[in-house]
């Protein structure tokens, strides 16, 4: 599976996610198996996900819960493929069980048309590199990803987040990668490329590259798997020793290490623009340090705490002595 991100990416097959709700496990297994047989026969590449947030949702029209989810999916502009409980199956987005491959291809291609039209209408030609990488890393069974940028190629091991890259992934190399196209290929266990790709290159932490992609190549959008109202915390501090020091990131990390906050709450507590907070969340999610949490918090008035801290004055003067930017 190749996922290319770059200026011409909108002309190439997109990696789309499809999910199902409301029908029994046999139908779900059948859908997955049929999907697996479609490689290369559809306009876009389709990947099944257990998440309910997907590009296309397949649902049983006779299931009340499914209908509730579908209403939200349609409201967010995403197509749904209906499995009707009764009546004719005449619409382009209607499927019948058992699923025929031809009919499924037609449905998915029609959904691609809808999604492409939607992207064109919003001026968003393709998923961001961050989104594509996130999807690729979460592909079921993915062992590693081949990343290609310019004439460099490396192997990112998904579980350990270690990468074999021909040169040191310092800030300059990350900047070079971010400046151009990034091609992503998912490898599964046993794939011959696992041995041949980046042979001889020493493993290093992928965190600097993943973080840089989250911050700089999110396209201004939150990852699809990060719903706006959800609260998050960090399971550990990102390793800013290899990522690089940025006051805004340190501020957000300190907050999310001590409390679970939503994006809006994080922006309010930190005093940072929501766009800055959003790419921080994307980067943290890509690095695998962001976890969802349901803790409730009391919102302060914006900036209410500033000046009331007994340490506030001295902390400000220490920052000043070292020319550190105060993020808040």
């Amino acid at each position: 599976m190749n996922v290319t991100a770059g200026p011409s990416a909108s002309l190439r097959p997109q990696l789309r996610r499809i999910s199902a709700i409301g029908f029994d496990w046999r139908a779900e297994v059948s859908l997955k198996e049929t999907l697996a047989l479609l490689g290369g026969k559809t306009t876009d590449r389709w990947q099944y996900t257990e998440d309910l947030v997907a590009d296309v949702l397949v649902y049983d029209a006779g299931n009340a819960l499914a209908q509730a989810v579908v209403r939200r999916q349609i409201a967010s502009g995403h197509p749904c493929i209906c499995i009707p409980s009764t009546g004719d199956a005449g619409d382009e987005l209607v499927l019948r069980y058992p699923f025929g491959a031809t009919r499924l291809i037609r449905c998915l291609d029609y959904a691609s048309t809808r999604l492409t039209g939607q992207s064109a209408a919003t001026g968003d030609g393709s998923d961001s590199v961050c989104q594509r990488l996130d999807v690729a890393m979460r592909t079921p069974g993915a062992e590693a990803l081949v990343l290609r940028s310019g004439n460099h190629e490396g192997l990112l091991w998904v579980a350990s987040q270690r990468i074999a890259w021909p040169v040191s992934l310092d800030l300059d190399e990350c900047a070079r990668i971010l400046a151009g196209d990034v091609e992503i290929e998912v490898l599964h266990r046993g794939d011959a490329k696992l041995k041949s790709t980046a042979a001889g290159a020493a493993l290093q932490s992928a965190e600097p590259l993943l973080w840089a992609i989250g911050i700089a190549r999110s396209g201004g959008h939150p990852l699809r798997r990060l719903p706006a109202g959800q609260r998050y915390r960090l399971r550990r501090w990102p390793d800013f020793g290899v990522i690089g020091r940025r006051s805004a990131d340190l501020r957000c990390a300190a907050l999310l290490m001590q409390r679970a906050l939503s994006g809006t709450e994080l922006a309010s507590f930190s005093g940072l623009p929501i766009g800055v907070v959003q790419v921080f969340l994307n980067a943290a999610a890509l690095c695998g340090v962001l976890v969802a949490d349901a803790e409730r918090v009391v919102m302060p008035a914006r900036g209410a705490a500033s000046g009331r801290s007994p340490f506030g004055s001295v902390l400000h003067r220490i920052r000043s002595a070292f020319a550190m930017t105060s993020a808040a």
Binding site: D239, G241, R259
Partner: protein, 184 residues
């Protein structure tokens, strides 16, 4: 009247405390070094037996005093006295040591009051060379109820020492923010 604030640097012998202080101090650190009589712990010829000392001038005539704690655990009574009234502590560890987590355990326990107050930060030297990952350190701390920042650092670089300091400040600010925002 000018005031003084205290920042501590601690960790095993050879972790880079004197170097870290030198990277950010206004003047070269004043070190109390002697011949290393504990070569089993570290092969360097000299080690700190008293305090290392550096300082940073702050606006308004105040001073931030930087104290490097002697590394050997027989000086643990000094660590506890020094931590009273300290702004925070920077713990340094060397990832190439045989058991860096065990090294760290002594200091995390000795400076527990500061750790509990979110006033501890940990810098790992030579992180790419050892077998203990940053995840391992974070997990180990979490099991002990701590969430201190752990970063790969090279304390010869001023920017890496400033990263540790800024993370410490961010933690303290956040603690204060949540404390004051939850007051009626």
């Amino acid at each position: 009247m000018s005031r003084e604030y205290k920042l501590l640097f601690a960790g095993p012998m050879g972790a880079g405390k004197t170097t870290a202080i030198g990277a950010i101090s206004d003047h070269a650190p004043i070190a109390t070094e002697a011949l290393n009589s504990d070569l089993a712990q570290h092969s360097k010829t000299h080690t700190t037996v008293g305090f290392d000392y550096g300082e940073v001038a702050l606006d308004g005539g105040d001073r931030l005093r930087l104290y490097g704690m002697p590394g050997q655990s027989r000086f643990d009574f000094v660590w506890k006295v020094a931590s009273e009234g300290a702004l925070g502590v920077v713990l340094l560890a060397d990832n190439t040591r045989p058991d860096p987590l065990a090294d760290l355990a002594v200091y995390v326990e000795a400076f527990r009051p500061l750790a509990d107050a979110d006033a501890m930060v940990i810098g790992i030297g030579r992180s790419q060379q050892g077998t203990t990952s940053i995840d391992d350190y974070a997990h180990w701390l979490s099991e002990r109820g701590h969430a201190a920042p752990v970063f790969s650092v090279d304390v010869r670089r001023r920017d890496d020492v400033l990263l540790l300091l800024e993370a410490l400040l961010s933690q303290i600010e956040t603690r204060e923010l949540f404390a004051t925002s939850s007051q009626p």
